[in-house]
Every structure is written in structure tokens, then in C-alpha cells.
């Protein structure tokens, strides 16, 4: 299967110095893969100088000097920077030149531009940000992680439907268990959004297992966890924060005195295993689900190994035809997008 990815190489904290080597690495792994590296060729070309000709032949530099910064407003990305590396990479998906776009850029801008250029499926009102997170037993897919901060029950139902389909496709589950993120106190259980969504989910044909609490996410109680983007983003960031804090506390304990430093050094195989297990890079690559094309968002601070993972997520979504799957299973036609709509 010939796959072409459009990579916004200018996005993220490190730009081409991370995204270009990562792209070369993944090209080397996948013989049928092609890439458009979208960005400033003065920055890209030097990084390609030592690339084998066989890889070089499968990539194409799409030159532009405009790019979306982390501080750019969504409106700037949308209405002014029409030649940005992010915009051109998304355009490539719309035009069929690529099957997926990957960017480590500004999430708000990426979501807005993707939504404008690619549109959502006809009956999906809002796209959502979805990612896999580690659990005690494996991993869980969670959405929305920040695209929407005022979701209504029907939006959460749509997120659940999309989440279930994508989790099934990616992991080969038959009927992924879907949980609705809630709090556990009796009587004050949940707000109105949650109660109404609960009813919609109960009436759906999903494998809905009911409410799930914050700690249940990481116990692996469900394959898909659904929530509003505000709550989901807080949950995601808190999780990152706690994991980092614990890693820091381990280091502190190791550095406590000479004995602990020696014991810590001896325990190296344990740290290596733990590092691998908890490596955020293994989970890098959030999917903007609900769009007619595949857009993968990498963490802005991703290193080359992590960015490479986001590229692999894009490849898997192309192989599984995630947008087609959503369109077919939700009995929705894929919206035809005419090139003219890019003219904001």
C-alpha cells in the first residue's frame, strides 16, 4: 500500500531538527512510504544531506517560509498565514496529494485549520482530539482532550461512536468497552451534561459500561473513555504532571546520599524498563477524529523518537482508513470538499 504523509516540519518546539530526522527514520522503516516535508528548504536540505538516495527519492520538500508559531492566534493561522507549512500540509490531504498530515504545531490552530480545510463528516458536528494513554493493563483511548470546552450530550455521543470505531480498528477489539468520565460522589454524581449523555449512551448500540472515575482510566476499566474537552485536557495534563513529579521524586531519592546513588546506579535495568513503559513518546500522536481526512497532532516538545511515533500513528490510521470507517459505520457520506473552500 503506497502511503504519502504530509509533514509540517516547522511545528513543535524543535522544528526541523527533530521532525526531519524522525521522518527519515520512519521512511527507512517503511519501503512503500512517501513524504512531503513542508517547510523552509534552507532549514530542511542540510538535514537531508546525508540521507541515502533511496530515502531521498521517496521524499519531496514543499518549500514555504511561512509557519504558524505557538503564540499565533487561531485567526492568524486561519485567515492570514495561508501559505504556512501547517496549512499546506493539510491542503495536501484535501487535494489527495497525501493521505494524512502530521504536525507538532499549535493545537488550536491545527484544529481550526484542519476543520476549515477538511471539514467534518456530515453528521459529526465537532471533531475531537483522541489519544492513547497507558493503563495498568495496556492502553486506553480517550477523547475529547481539548478541542471542545462546552460539549453537549449529543457531541459526547458522537465522540463515543467515533472512539469506539477507531479503538476497534486500531486494536482489533470487537466491541470496545466505552466509559463516560464522571465523579463518584453519591447523589451529587455528575452534572447535567453527564446525566443526559449517560442516557444517550445507554440507548446506543455501543458497548457502554457506564460511568468511570479518574482512577478507573488508568486501571484499564474501559478501552474508550469519553469526556468534554475541558475535563479531558485537565485529566491529561494532570496525568503528565504526576508522572513527571514521580520521576523527579525517584531521582531525588536516588541522589539522597552516596549509598542510594550506588544502589540507584545498580538498579539501571529497572529504570530502563520503567522508562520504556512510561515513555510518553510511545503514546505520542493524537488524532483529530471526525474530519474527512487524517490529521495527527504530535506533542510540541516531542523528540525525534516521539515524533516518529506520531508518524507511525498516521500510517496506521491510513492503513485502517479511519475517516472512511467513521463515514461508513455512522452511515454518513464523506463530505466532498472543493478546493475553493480554502479561500477564507
Amino acid at each position: 500500500m503506497r502511503i504519502t504523509l504530509a509533514v509540517d516540519v516547522m511545528g513543535g518546539d524543535h522544528g526541523p531538527s527533530v521532525t526531519v530526522p524522525a521522518s527519515l527514520q520512519v521512511l527507512a522503516e517503511q519501503p512503500d512510504l512517501h513524504m512531503h516535508l513542508v517547510g523552509d528548504d534552507a532549514l530542511i536540505e542540510p538535514l537531508l544531506a546525508r540521507a541515502p538516495a533511496a530515502l531521498r527519492a521517496r521524499l519531496q520538500v514543499v518549500h514555504t517560509t511561512e509557519f504558524v508559531t505557538m503564540d499565533d492566534k487561531v485567526s492568524t493561522a486561519l485567515r492570514i498565514k495561508k501559505q504556512s507549512s501547517m496549512r499546506l500540509a493539510i491542503n495536501a490531504v484535501r487535494d489527495g496529494a497525501a493521505q494524512a498530515c502530521v504536525s507538532a504545531g499549535n493545537t488550536g490552530a491545527l484544529m481550526a485549520v484542519s476543520r476549515f480545510v477538511l471539514k467534518t463528516h456530515a453528521q459529526i458536528e465537532r471533531p475531537a482530539i483522541m489519544t492513547a494513554l497507558p493503563t495498568q493493563k495496556g492502553h486506553v483511548h480517550m477523547l475529547d482532550l481539548g478541542a471542545n470546552v462546552d460539549s453537549e450530550p449529543r457531541h459526547l455521543l458522537q465522540f463515543a461512536q467515533m472512539g469506539s470505531l477507531v479503538a476497534a480498528a486500531l486494536d482489533g477489539h470487537d466491541q470496545p468497552r466505552v466509559g463516560l468520565l464522571n465523579i463518584g460522589e453519591e447523589e451529587i454524581k455528575g452534572n447535567e451534561l453527564i446525566k443526559q449523555t449517560h442516557e444517550l449512551l445507554r440507548q446506543s448500540d455501543l458497548n457502554y459500561i457506564g460511568y468511570i472515575e479518574g482512577d478507573g482510566i488508568f486501571k484499564g476499566e474501559a478501552e474508550v473513555v469519553v469526556c468534554d474537552g475541558f475535563v479531558g485536557n485537565v485529566a491529561l495534563k494532570c496525568s503528565e504532571g504526576v508522572a513527571k513529579m514521580m520521576a523527579g521524586k525517584i531521582k531525588e531519592q536516588v541522589n539522597r546520599n552516596l549509598l542510594t546513588r550506588i544502589l540507584g546506579a545498580l538498579a539501571w535495568p529497572i529504570w530502563q524498563g520503567l522508562k520504556h513503559e512510561m515513555d510518553p513518546g510511545r503514546y505520542n500522536g493524537a488524532s483529530l477524529v471526525g474530519l474527512t481526512g487524517i490529521v495527527i497532532k504530535s506533542h510540541g516538545s516531542a523528540d525525534a523518537a516521539s515524533f516518529a511515533h506520531a508518524l507511525r500513528v498516521a500510517i496506521t490510521e491510513v492503513e485502517k482508513d479511519v475517516p472512511g470507517l467513521i463515514a461508513r459505520h455512522l452511515s454518513l457520506p464523506v463530505v466532498e470538499v472543493s478546493p475553493a473552500v480554502s479561500d477564507v
Copy 2:
């Protein structure tokens, strides 16, 4: 300073077998401390059999056979179980027989009964649940953690005011930094609740440092973090879930093979230090702030050491006169509560 605590010994997963030994331990630590142990004396007395007479003299068993279960509805706790150990312990605070109540029982019931019996300060519309959490640099006070799932901006302002006062009193800070929990995506930054609260906080005389993201909580970016109870409870439970998952992954890595088991055993001083640092017991004891009396909620699964910590939190709040502090500094009179109002 003579302090009397009313302890609901029937609450929590383990009941008197945890709460009574914890009470004896703290009594032994504090020579001026007195306690009412409220619960079934048939269960309590055997646990007191070997207590030194000097401790026994400072505690009083308040016998009742009724108690609130984890599955009881709030309405049951409030309208039917009027002789429950939880209710009697809270009544003791209202009647001045004790200066604080501690319970590991059903949070929803504890909040509802406390609010009904003790009332909030005149201009505090809703009490909030507040606790300390570990950070990279020390700890942070966070509220609300689940008392309110549909807070309005003025409620969050009140939480911030109370949180700032309590943090200042407990930790000796002059002007604790107050952060508002939000998500970081540009343009879609925050929902309406957050934006309006942000304005109220900016206009307040608090040391408001603006938005804080989930990971910022654990970096120690603020001394007080304010949020709606739904978001706060999810954040709290996610944090617990991630910490447990990481502890599990460490164990898995240690048990991977004979070598890692040996290295893991050698690294014992590191684990001990880490266990101490991350021990949830060190942070057990959430405060129901905004009430005219002190009510401390222990985690239901607390062991004796953790429950003892919740008792110590109660003692500190009595010493600092947290309700009086809130009443004075918010220029609000403490509401006089007549005994008749307990007659639901």
C-alpha cells in the same frame, strides 16, 4: 489549648478497626487532646481494652448503632439516619461539645449533613472540599474537589478567597499564589465559567497569578488551585490513578527477572524514601471549607496512619481557628445556629 475532636469511628472501609487505633495514637501524641468516639460501643470497647488509663481518661464513647453506609443516599443520611455516628459527630461540633469532626464516611452524605447541621458562613453560598496534594516543590491546596458540579464564577471566587486564607494560616504564607485551573490551547482557552472567574479573580485582592494547567499543579506553580468540583474530582482521581499505575509498573519491572529482583531488593532505601514522599496518608484529610464548624473528610480506604493524619489536620484547623478566620477576613458574621434546625 484544650481541643476535643468528635470522631465518626464507623465511617470508612475499615470502620473502628482503623479509626479507634488511629485515635489512640493521636491522643498519645497530644496531651491536651480529648476525643468523642462516636459509634457502636460493642465494637469500640474491645479496641480500647489495652489503652493506657491516661488516654482512656481523655476519651468518651458516644454510643449509637446507626451509621451511614457508603451506599446510603444523601437523603437517607439527612432525613432518616438522625442518630448515625456521622450525624452525632457533626452535632457535637454544632453544640460546642467538640471543635471539629472527622469522618471517613460517604463524602456526599458528610457534605450534606455538615451543611445542614453547621450551615455555611453568611456570605459563602457553598462549601467546598479542599485538600493538600504533593508537588515537585512541596504541596498545593486544591479546591473544590467534588462538593459542587455546577459552580458559578462567584462560587469559584469564594473558593479562592477561602483557599487563600486557609493556605496562609496552615503554611504561614503571607500571600499564597492562587491559580485558576484551565486548559492551555490558544483561542479555545477555557470555557465561559473560567473566563468570567478569571475577571473576578483579577479584580480581587488575592495574589492571583492567572491560569494554571493540569501539569502546573504538580510543578508547584501555585499554593492554591481553584476549580469546579467536577474538574477537581477528576483531576484528583486521575492523579491517584497515575501514581498507582506507576507504582505498579515499578513493581513489574522489579519482578521482571532474578537480576531485577535482586537489584530491586538492594534498592530498598530508595523505595522507602519514595514511599514516604508519595504516601497518600501524608495528605489524608480534606477540609469541608465554608462551614461554621470544622469537618475533615478522611479517605474511605485510609489505614490507621492515614486516618491519624486526618485527625492531625483537624487539630491544626482548630488551632488556627479556620472557620473564625474565614468569617473575620471575609467580613462575614459567623451564622448563629440554633439547635432546632437539626430537626429535618
